[in-house]
Amino acid sequence: MDVTAHAFKSNVKAALKDMQLQRALSGLPTGLVAQRTAAKAKLPEFEALRDVGRDIKDHTLAHLDLYLEAWEKKATAAGAKVHWAPTAADAREIVAGICREANARLVTKGKSMVSEEIALNAHLEAQGLEVVETDLGEYLVQIRHETPSHIIAPAIHLTEAQIEADFRRQHTHLPKDRPLDEPVQIVSEARDILREKFIKADVGITGANFLIAETGSSIIVTNEGNGDLTQSLAKVHVVVTSIDKVVPTLEDAATLLRLLARSATGQEFSVYTTFSTGPRRPEDADGPEQYHVVVLDNGRSALLDTPFREVLRCIRCGACMNHCPVYGAVGGHAYGWVYPGPIGAVLNPALIGLDEASHLPNASTFCGRCESVCPMKIPLPGLMREWRRQEFASGAGSAVGRSALKAWSYLARRPRLYHLATRLGIATLSALGRTRGAFRSLPLAGGWTRHRDLAAPQGRTFQQLWAEHKQGVPR
């Protein structure tokens, strides 16, 4: 997909003024956030399971080459064809090659963020293939020529009215006066249209939530059942996934699955969790004749000996973005690349470069909600801070910003000087603002005062008040 992460600031301005987007995003707190809270409350072991989940992934990452090889051996023994892809371009070409060999014309797809990462649809379409997304949210996004704005709810930025209008525009062979104002009518229409695609498809592409070394399986988790129809009805099933998805055993998968659905949608368990191992067996009555797994690196392995290794624990539940005040205000497209929200702010600079994505780790209040809900306990604010540190160390940023940071760092490391400077500053502002009690404008604070007044300080610093409080001086 096109990268617009460098334009984050103008993306944000547009998003804040987009009333349809703001209406669509307003449902987050009572939707996914509240549902997760309720699901967590029903499972007393939830917090303890987060520790176990983190440990499983840490162990796996420390032995990643070995578990990938073990998985490959079992998968191959079951008849899978395993393809390794160092880069996105490799992965795209491998999938295109499989489609060519199958003489494919129609490709159906289940939801896969890795396929978004490698911009697979555009590549296959350029080769003359028809590519149809079958997850309803992905289909809604595809017919608008957009990209997903959320990793598990791709069309979360759309209102029902927009979706109805899109369906009327897209499905012109259906009666114009058909009722489409209820979600159930939209879903039924999509079901009929996509059913035909499932049946006619030559190749079905899915992602994988996990790979299991013990059995050589890939796992997909869905609620719609579209992934299962995608992978069962086509002659060829292609799994597009990445090196960080492997876990050692079924027991490890069980623990991570307990965390995944609850963190993502607040369900106790997703409706369909499917383990696929190899193509159809000689005695089988259905299922694909070929089963390919494309395993992408695309910069992940380079994180293994850096502080960003922890981000490879991510199981793509989306909880961090659901709980993020920045994501909640601007939605996913503003982030300008595949992964939005706090996980994107940490992962995107690693995958597309800090130059391109430097705004993203800076777009955080460090409120810490993302880390507190992350089922894999990824220290997202700390890793964003690490990107900021690296950005500063590389000499990036404006001269004014860098000087201000340098001055701040000089002061912050000299407590006496810091106290003196803040006392003087506060006293000055207090004297200047005494008449009105607030400032309408102030040099260097334009970002604040353009939108609201800045209250004038009362004369003493917090440190002074605190010291007096401890000595029992009445205020």
Binding site: G27, G31, L43, P44, A48, V52, I56, H63, L64, D65, A70, A78, W84, A85, P86, D90, L136, L140, A153, P154, A155, T159, E160, I163, P183, I186, V187, S188, E214, T215, G216, N223, E224, G225, N226, D228, L229, P248, T249, L250, E251, D252, A254, T255, T265, Q267, E268, V271, Y272, T274, F275, T277, G278, R281, A285, G287, S301, A302, L304, D305
Partner: protein, 226 residues
Amino acid sequence: MSDSAAALRRDKVLGAIRSRLGQSDGRSRTAASRIAGQAPHLVPERSRRDAAGLKELFATQLRAGNATVVAVASEADLPAAVAAYLRGQNLPLAMRAGNDTWLRAIDWSREPALSIAEGPAVPDDEVGLTHAVAAVAETGTLVLASGPANPVTVTFLPETSIIVVRAADLVGPYEAAFDLIRQRYGRGTMPRTLNLVSGPSRTADVGGRLVTGAHGPRRLCVMVVG
């Protein structure tokens, strides 16, 4: 693309990982022994119950996911229960099923109006009948193994899915169901697909509102026998 190019790409990915991780002693042994026998991690207390408790938890969880749950006393009562459910839903009494030995051993002629077509599902099939190898009470989840006995299309294509499970195959947590699969197929071996099903198909992609019947079955009826 040639095989040698593929081999190069494999070396590149695995080589990059190895060089970043370093190769300390004992890593291979650690990984191999974990794969050979990982004990369950923390298993939620909620599924530590007797048989009756498991049955109750299983049904409660499935109903919360919008499935219908019917308790059937014995195999002999299954045809009548299936026919009653289909009549109650105004559905045809024609079903699709695989060649599952246990399902075939049931005397379906007790309900002469019922018919079962054998084989994988076709798009026109309205009702699919499958036999789950196990069921997990923890979250009300059925475990289906694909094969000629229960083709995967029978579970996903028809609008109505009837899944039958024996009460004896009901377990508490997922880990216990995986052990049953290992007993049946051997450790490290799986059927082509193992499907964990916890309700009828659903979506919330339109305005965040929940709708059942997305691409898979609109209705799920689970019959617990015994």
